[in-house]
């Protein structure tokens, strides 16, 4: 990769290569992390600071930083945390958070329950039509959402008017839709985790007098807990991030965060500071959870793609 014209010794080439890789890695890290840094930084800034022609790249000036090093107790006075206080009054952020939490957590519970059964069946049994069912599961991931949304909207309106069952702008309507969309992925991911648990475990449980179902619930599921947690996090994130169906089927009182956050930018003004404060509140727990539980999550995601 390094041209011969430089006439470098072997160890020289090695050092140069190492330096180059470090440099490229540094650039990649900067590209990956700068937006997240900028979100946190902007959330602590006033509107004037955010819209300034030449915004500072750093949270503090050198003088302020020196003060903080000398006496950390001045830090709160230098931080502008106004946005974290005003956003709750200016926008119904709290309701958005509660709605998102309800929708995403109930979806996660249902998708995991259905996904565990299906994933287990896929991992342990051979049955006719297995390839077909597996193909259908993967096929669902290739359907443009709009193809399902249009007829489903008409279907929901129709059910609402003829059977008087409210579905649009309700928790149960959107939760049912999300559960179905996440079940195929949940089955696929969980199958991989169940595959890594030896069959002998259930056989031992069966010898001890467990029924097939008891062996699954009492022995296999606890052992697959890390995988189930990883799948759960994936489902939760998918439901939290979804906007296509939510923008049509979950408005009004059930508006989730993903839709509500866009109202921070109106035709005339953009409340970037408040928006970034709310975004930081939403992102922080997710990133912390990921950093703590990343091993099974990363394994679960790569399992399916590499195995094939």
């Amino acid at each position: 990769m390094i041209p011969d014209e430089l006439h470098l010794t072997d160890s020289g080439r090695e050092t140069l290569f190492k330096l180059l890789s470090k440099g490229v890695l540094g650039c990649l890290l900067l590209y990956a992390l700068f937006p997240i840094y900028w979100m946190i930084l902007s959330s602590f800034r006033t509107r004037a600071e955010i819209t300034a022609a030449e915004p500072s790249l750093f949270p503090f000036t050198l003088d302020d930083a020196a003060d903080i090093v000398q006496d950390p107790s001045v830090l709160p006075t230098l931080l502008e945390y106004e946005n974290y206080l005003t956003m709750w009054d200016r926008f119904p952020v709290f309701d958005y958070f509660v709605n998102s939490l309800i929708i995403a957590s109930v979806t996660t519970v249902f998708a995991l329950a259905v996904g565990c059964l299906g994933g287990y069946a896929f991992s342990r049994y051979r049955f006719p039509g297995k390839i077909g069912v597996g193909g259908a599961l993967l096929g669902t991931q290739m359907i443009p959402g709009i193809l399902i949304l249009l007829p489903m909207f008409l279907l929901f309106v129709w059910i609402q008017e003829t059977l008087a069952i409210p579905l649009i702008d309700t928790y149960h309507g959107i939760i049912f839709v999300y559960t179905t969309f996440t079940v195929p992925v949940a089955i696929w991911m969980l199958r991989g985790f169940f595959d890594s648990i030896p069959n002998a475990i259930e056989e031992a449980a069966r010898v001890d007098g467990c029924s097939r179902f008891q062996a699954l619930v009492r022995v296999v599921l606890p052992m697959a807990a890390p995988g189930i947690a990883a799948t759960g996090m994936f489902v939760f994130l998918t439901a939290f991030n979804e906007v296509l169906f939510a923008s049509v089927l979950a408005r009004g009182d059930v508006t989730p965060f993903a839709i509500g956050i866009q109202s921070f930018e109106t035709q005339t003004t953009a409340y970037w500071g408040e928006m970034m404060a709310a975004s930081t509140v939403a992102t922080a727990p997710i990133l912390i959870l990921f950093i703590l539980f990343q091993k099974p999550i990363v394994e679960g995601l790569t399992e399916g793609s590499v195995k094939q």
Binding site: L28, W38, F122, I148, L154, F213, M275
Partner: protein
């Protein structure tokens, strides 16, 4: 716990599918049990995937518009009229739909190229032994883990023409002489590719990284005995060995980008410019702004058909190539 699980168990056991599906009785006990476990998932997929798709195809041949939203079944049957209308480049709608298809292809090919380059670079770097490798992997995964609704809005803020940090940085570095409109006008599609790739490259990275780890060490040992340098090792071992994973990456990134709605919808805001209107966003705005569900459904079917055709062609191509290579 015990009581509920035994209750669930007995209710699972009591479902007598055999009464309704005679074929079911021919299955062995184990196979029947497998199907019982799969039953809830399959039933939901039938309700929310299969039925709406059939329904969507049905609606695409009906003249469902604002007058028929609640009585879609009374809409007149119009044969292929909807398809003819949306695919006719002489009408405004047809012209814009074709344009949106073109933008969709640019979007998915552009995203594929950028995420592959970024993802492969990152995976190769992570595959070397150095201190802090695990930390670097974790940090590089964050763009994909952070909720995309949030990160897309951050990029929207950073790409603002007047107050955005990107224009201000480029101006102070002297790369540009006056602020660029990133989110309005013809540049939009490139901005969209740039931002969408940021959210997706960690996925490509982690898939390729897993692929790299499964390449046997002996191949490299043998190559270095033969005097192969770094570039030769990459060219003749790493890259060919990554082919199966790369194939999955190419297919998934193309298809998933083609049907991605979140990125253009959030990044481009309430009034998306023409250049950023990829098909799925165009269909959405078209169908819901004037309740033209019949025509919207026809466009969705076209998009679906293109995605499926691509997937099939691609698989066939891969299969043929593997076959000829095996012959050699």
């Amino acid at each position: 716990m015990t009581r509920t699980s035994s209750r669930v168990r007995s209710s699972v056991a009591e479902i007598e599918i055999g009464r309704y599906l005679p074929l079911y009785n021919r299955l062995s006990d184990e196979q029947q049990y497998a199907y019982k476990l799969l039953l809830p998932g399959l039933a939901m997929m039938l309700l929310i995937h299969f039925i709406p798709i059939v329904w969507g195809v049905l609606i695409s041949v009906l003249g469902v518009d604002s007058g028929y939203v609640s009585q879609w079944y009374e809409a007149p049957f119009v044969w292929a009229e909807n398809y003819r209308f949306v695919l006719d480049p002489r009408t405004v709608v047809g012209e814009r739909f074709w344009y949106s298809l073109r933008q969709t292809v640019i979007f998915s090919v552009g995203t594929l190229l950028l995420t592959y380059v970024l993802g492969l670079t990152a995976a190769l770097l992570l595959n070397q032994r150095f201190k802090g490798r695990f930390a670097a992997r974790t940090l590089l995964l964050l763009p994909w883990v952070a909720p995309s609704v949030v990160t897309l809005l951050i990029w929207r803020m950073m790409f603002q023409q007047q107050s955005g940090i990107i224009n201000s940085l480029l101006l102070s570095l002297g790369v540009i002489s006056e602020p660029i409109y990133w989110l309005i006008g013809d540049n939009t599609i490139w901005t969209l590719i740039l931002v969408h790739s940021w959210t997706q490259f960690p996925l490509v990275m982690i898939m390729l990284y897993a692929g790299l780890q499964s390449i046997p060490e002996q191949l490299y040992e043998a190559a270095s005995i033969d005097g192969a340098g770094r570039w030769e090792q990459f060219r003749y071992i790493t890259f060919p060995q990554l082919k199966p994973v790369s194939a999955v990456v190419v297919l998934l990134m193309m298809l998933w980008t083609m049907i991605n709605f979140t990125s253009p919808y959030i990044l481009l805001g309430a009034q998306p410019p023409q250049s950023g209107q990829v098909s799925i966003l165009y269909i959405y705005n078209f169908a819901f702004s004037n309740y033209q569900f019949g025509r919207g459904a026809a466009m969705s079917v076209v998009l679906f058909a293109i995605a499926m055709a691509m997937a099939m062609l691609y698989y066939k191509y891969l299969f043929d190539q593997d076959f000829t290579e095996g012959d050699r």
